[in-house]
């Protein structure tokens, strides 16, 4: 595929990249951080969390940086008071939607939701908590799923489908009732498709998918395997 080099500005800084790159990719290359939760390098783009919305001069509305390719002369602003407010609001909604008790979570200190909230300066949740009654699936020998901590980023669904190829996970239901299921909403431990590879656990940004035996704040996740797999597949 041919790609052209284009020049644009991000936060007033002149940068250039290939026109098959996204705003987010180019920003990260240039050391500009944009908040994000559903995006993970090596997985397909879904544009679901909406944290990476940026302002593009002349565009009708806000633009998802993860899902938008750069073009010549684009003028991008990744941070503004308005964006900061929206991001705080989205993060607050995620906290209010599930049930995130950071202090007793295996991912405490290593959780991307928690980190994003701290970056955004969230010190309390102004919206009412929805207090859903969600399940914990501890049927798998090695892993567990605490749906209370799930933010529906679907990284697990994508890694299982796109990298492992097992397609054990999917989203069931819709709207506020949507949730992650394995097979026919079968207990994870009884899934006939799961290979127990654990990739879903590693890419989960919160403590929703966890390794059994990890205690509070002990669960550190690593996603570096993704770039290795991607690189090796490209070589093949």
């Amino acid at each position: 595929m041919n790609s052209n080099v284009v020049t644009l500005s991000i936060n007033g800084k002149e940068v250039s990249g290939r026109d098959d790159e996204t705003i987010l990719e180019l920003a990260l290359e240039n050391g500009i951080q944009i908040p994000r939760l559903c995006y993970l390098e090596g997985l397909s783009i879904v544009g679901a969390c909406r944290l990476c919305m940026v302002e593009v001069l002349g565009a009708k509305g806000l633009i998802a940086a993860c899902a938008t390719r750069i073009t010549e002369g684009m003028v991008v602003q990744t941070d503004s008071e308005r964006l900061a407010e929206y991001r705080r609001s989205i993060l607050e909604m995620l906290f209010a939607e599930g049930f995130h008790v950071c202090s007793v979570c295996v991912a405490n200190g290593h959780c991307e939701l928690q980190t994003q909230a701290a970056h955004a300066g969230i010190d309390h949740i102004d919206l009412p908590y929805l207090y859903p009654r969600r399940k914990v699936d501890a049927s798998h020998r090695l892993f567990g799923l605490d749906a209370n901590r799930c933010i529906l980023c679907t990284r697990c669904v994508r890694v299982c489908s796109e990298i492992e190829g097992a397609r054990t996970w999917s989203v069931s239901g819709r709207g506020i009732e949507a949730h992650i299921i394995s097979d026919f909403a079968t207990p994870w431990g009884e899934s006939t498709t799961c290979t127990s590879c654990g990739k879903c656990v590693q890419v989960c940004p919160t403590g929703a998918l966890f390794m059994k035996g990890a205690s509070t704040a002990e669960l550190e996740k690593r996603t570096d395997f993704l770039s290795w797999i991607t690189a090796m597949r490209e070589q093949r």
């Binding site: 097992a166 397609r167 999917s170 069931s172 299921i181 394995s182 097979d183 026919f184 909403a185 498709t193």
Partner: protein, 170 residues
């Protein structure tokens, strides 16, 4: 290569209705895009989609179980639970709502002691809601076993389900 007849999984039972389901899959060449059409054919033939049906479709269309379940639970038209002998569908479209559909629903819920979307304990009557039946000129409407009751009232709707209830007893 397209799956041949030999690759079609055996239906869950010798119920003849499975032939319709298999025919639907075949008509679409057993492609993955046949999923929704196949779910429709199960629902139409059996009234609901049970675990056996989900498994059968997954094998027939070579789809992962999670995809079949995810799709079946995404669309409101599909139900994974058996419905009652009679169904009473209250339209909650805007025109019906403006003309008092909520009162009709409340009256039916109270009379049947079930919430919308539930079936009475004796499996006689399912009370359902529809987002809009597209018969707004006749609002408010209730559809009883497929028959449209136009410009109806809470009282008339309750009377009708009471007839079903007395039939069930008698």
């Amino acid at each position: 290569m397209l799956p041949s007849q030999a690759n079609v999984p055996a239906p869950p039972s010798d119920d003849k209705r499975w032939r319709i389901v298999t025919a639907t899959m075949r008509r679409h060449g057993f492609g993955t895009d046949a999923l929704i059409e196949t779910l429709h054919s199960v629902q139409e033939a059996f009234g609901y989609i049970d675990d056996d049906a989900l498994r059968f479709i997954a094998r027939g269309l070579r789809l992962p179980p999670s995809s079949v379940y995810g799709v079946a639970t995404f669309y409101n038209y599909f139900t994974l639970k058996p419905q009652g002998e009679h169904t009473c569908v209250v339209c909650m479209g805007t025109a019906c709502y403006i003309k008092g559909a909520a009162h009709i629903l409340t009256a039916l819920q109270n009379r049947l002691s079930v919430k919308a979307g539930e079936t009475t304990a004796d499996k006689a009557i399912s009370l359902l809601t529809a987002r809009c039946m597209g018969a707004c000129g006749l609002a408010p409407i209730v559809v009883n076993d497929g028959e449209v009751a136009a410009q109806t009232t809470p009282e008339a709707s309750v009377t009708l389900v009471e007839e079903w209830m007395s039939d069930a007893v008698g």
